[in-house]
């Protein structure tokens, strides 16, 4: 066999079904499928179910790396010997958008940089990520967060739509291995393909309405300076405290751990489940003291953690601009709107209006 070095390949769209079939034969295939009016990431039985042209799924692919309810250990109260309870399987997650790939990179940093979590590491080692290019809708603002393109994220293959074909970039040896296994489906790249690939970035950029995008420059300092702003209070008055925004977030990682005994109390399972900083009990300590007692402080905490906390903790912004929190919020609170109000967009209009009035 020849020593295999490839940078990129072309996958004709007509071969996509065969490609997915090939992936499914390699291991468990997870991909976006349509559910009602929305899309979800789901395990694939029939490759014809896979929805390639979707904008966003309800939940990010995070649920296959950090399940929303997961077991850590089991132990018996007599011996107190702890047994690991996590089962890991090989999986391929297909059709992940750039923002979610960046979201997974952020989770990688959280779980693996310091005190690496062996369960996450094991799952992550056995997961292949195949990304796909996308076009933004009115909620997307990944151009502001710098996550509109998959540079800097951890992925194995990335499919960019260039019309009749997908331009497939190879991001890791695992991705290369898949291309090698399914090489009959691919074509070599031609000059025209590379040209179209290069053009695709500006095409995506043009699809954003620039005036609608939030300005995230200096956002950390801004939030620290506006810590006592009225904007937080006003936002929290609309907020229901349901925690949807954090549950649909591709970068939120907070969890709660509980020991659940069997009825006779002999066997205990340590279960972790995703929690939300929007819930009052998040900051409750024994004795009944709440460190974040009111909704405004919890509402503010989410923004503070995304834009001040993450940069300190993992040196990246905690927001990838996927727009899920804005799209799913039952109270219609938009992260972009909150940021714009913090930046004083309303004030600016107001100031300009008064200036105009006074100059007249």
């Amino acid at each position: 066999m020849d020593f295999h070095i490839e940078r990129a390949k072309v996958l004709p769209k007509s071969n996509l079904a065969k490609f997915l079939e090939g992936l499914k034969n390699l291991s468990t295939l997870i991909a976006p499928v349509k559910k009602g009016d929305k899309f979800i990431f789901s395990e694939i039985e029939k490759v014809s179910d896979v929805a390639v042209n979707y904008t966003r799924t309800i939940l990010p692919p995070k649920k296959f790396l950090v399940p929303y309810r997961r077991e850590r250990f089991s132990y018996s109260t007599d011996t107190l010997q702890f047994n690991k309870e996590f089962k890991v399987r090989d999986q391929i997650i297909f059709g992940v958008h750039s923002c979610d790939l960046h979201g997974i990179s952020i989770l990688d940093s959280v779980y693996l940089k310091e005190n690496p979590d062996p369960r996450y590491l094991e799952i992550r080692k056995r997961t292949v990520l195949i990304g796909i290019s996308c076009m933004p809708d009115e909620f997307c603002f990944c151009l502001s967060t710098g996550t509109a393109f998959p540079d800097g994220a951890n992925w194995d293959l990335f499919l960019t739509d260039i019309g009749a074909d997908y331009f497939v970039t190879i991001g890791s040896p695992k991705g290369d291995e898949i291309v090698l296994k399914l090489r009959k489906l691919f074509k070599d790249i031609e000059k025209k393909d590379l040209y179209l690939y290069k053009e695709s970035t500006s095409k995506k950029k043009k699809a954003f309405k620039l005036e609608k995008l939030p300005d995230l420059e200096r956002i950390s300092q801004l939030i620290e300076l506006e810590y006592d702003s009225e904007v937080w209070k006003e936002g929290s008055e609309r907020c229901l405290g349901c925690g949807t925004c954090t549950n649909v977030c591709p970068t939120c990682f907070c969890y709660t751990s509980v020991d659940v005994p069997t009825l006779d109390g002999k066997k205990v399972k340590r279960i972790e489940f995703t929690t939300s900083c929007q819930y009052p009990y998040y900051s409750l300590v024994a004795g009944g003291h709440y460190f974040k007692p009111d909704r405004a402080s919890r509402f503010k905490h989410r923004y503070y953690h995304k834009f001040v906390g993450y940069p300190y903790q993992i040196e990246k912004l905690g927001c990838v601009g996927c727009g899920r929190c804005s799209a799913e919020c039952p109270a219609g609170i938009s992260i972009v709107e909150t940021i714009n109000r913090l930046r004083g967009i309303d004030e600016k209009e107001l100031r300009e209006a008064t200036e105009q009035a006074s100059s007249r």
Partner: protein, 292 residues
């Protein structure tokens, strides 16, 4: 982009930081109503031998069947062979813990957190201010300093609690008062019984003891631990008397599930109380909103 992935993933499977070590309760001492001091020894001898911690650090203690709780270590690393934790019965898990007997198993992982900066405190005066159960993590620091007494200059201990009944480590604190290489000032909220009067130097708040301390503030490191409401008042009083805020260290409490910066509950501003704390210089109040 490829490198960052490989750096993270191509590591051998690490030692599981979530895996606790089995330990046995060797002794339980009832210190005050609802306050017990538990002594533990690890079942694995090698863990006992290698155990080392910094005063102010904490452990995650598994109470069988109930769950994990973060508890400050109250024994000094200079006294090896046992780990001691003082626990107040205040919630579901601590109530189960209080029902355990010597010989029962628990599981411990740690030590976690940064602890007090004992290295840079050396060569300076040390002022220790404890309110109520706050004496527990500071007991570790007190014995650490006293076992290396020559490395520190003047030492003051200020301790305030409700009444004599609630004074923790009564015998130890009595003996400390008799020593001539440190000064102890104790206060009580109540002055009802004869014992209260005999114990306390003064009736009233902990902050009222601070003016009685005769130390050069710029040469002094301050270690504070107490109930959440106390920090603001103690901090203000210390600053008023000229103690530099970079030399005042407070040990803070937060909800914790993991102790290693994964669960997110303990965030104070942008820092994690579990890995960046639980000991913070008072200076950090400028950085971290809602710290105290």
């Amino acid at each position: 982009m490829k490198k960052s992935l490989e750096k993270l993933l191509n590591k051998p499977l690490p030692v599981d930081p979530f895996m606790p070590q089995r330990a046995v309760i060797t002794d339980i001492e009832e210190l005050a109503p609802d306050h017990k001091k538990f002594s533990f020894a690890f079942c694995d001898e090698s863990v006992n031998d290698s155990w080392n911690h910094i005063p102010g650090q904490f452990v995650m203690l598994t109470v069988p069947g109930a769950g994990e709780i973060p508890i400050s270590i109250c024994s000094s690393p200079t006294r090896k062979g046992t780990v001691e934790l003082t626990v107040r019965k205040v919630g579901r898990k601590t109530e189960v813990l209080h029902r355990l007997k010597p010989g029962d198993y628990v599981a411990i992982r740690g030590p976690y957190g940064n602890g007090f900066p004992v290295g840079i405190m050396e060569g300076h005066n040390v002022l220790i201010i404890a309110g109520g159960l706050g004496i527990a993590p500071l007991r570790s620091l007190i014995w650490y300093i006293l076992d290396r007494r020559h490395r520190f200059k003047e030492v003051y201990i200020l301790y305030g609690t409700r009444s004599y009944e609630y004074v923790l480590y009564k015998e130890e604190l009595k003996r400390l008062r008799e020593r001539n290489d440190l000064k102890c000032l104790y206060t009580l909220d109540k002055f009802e019984t004869e014992e209260d009067r005999r114990w306390a130097d003064r009736k009233g708040l902990l902050t009222e003891l601070i003016p009685m301390v005769e130390l050069e503030p710029s040469e002094t490191f301050v270690a504070v631990c107490g109930p959440p409401v106390a920090y603001r008042f103690i901090g203000k009083e210390l600053l008023k008397h000229g103690y530099p805020e970079s030399q005042i260290f407070v040990s803070l409490e937060r909800k914790m599930e993991c102790g290693i910066g994964k669960c997110g509950h303990c965030q104070i501003g942008y820092k994690f109380a579990c890995i960046d704390g639980p000991v913070f210089p008072l200076w950090d109040t400028k950085n971290l909103p809602e710290m105290i």
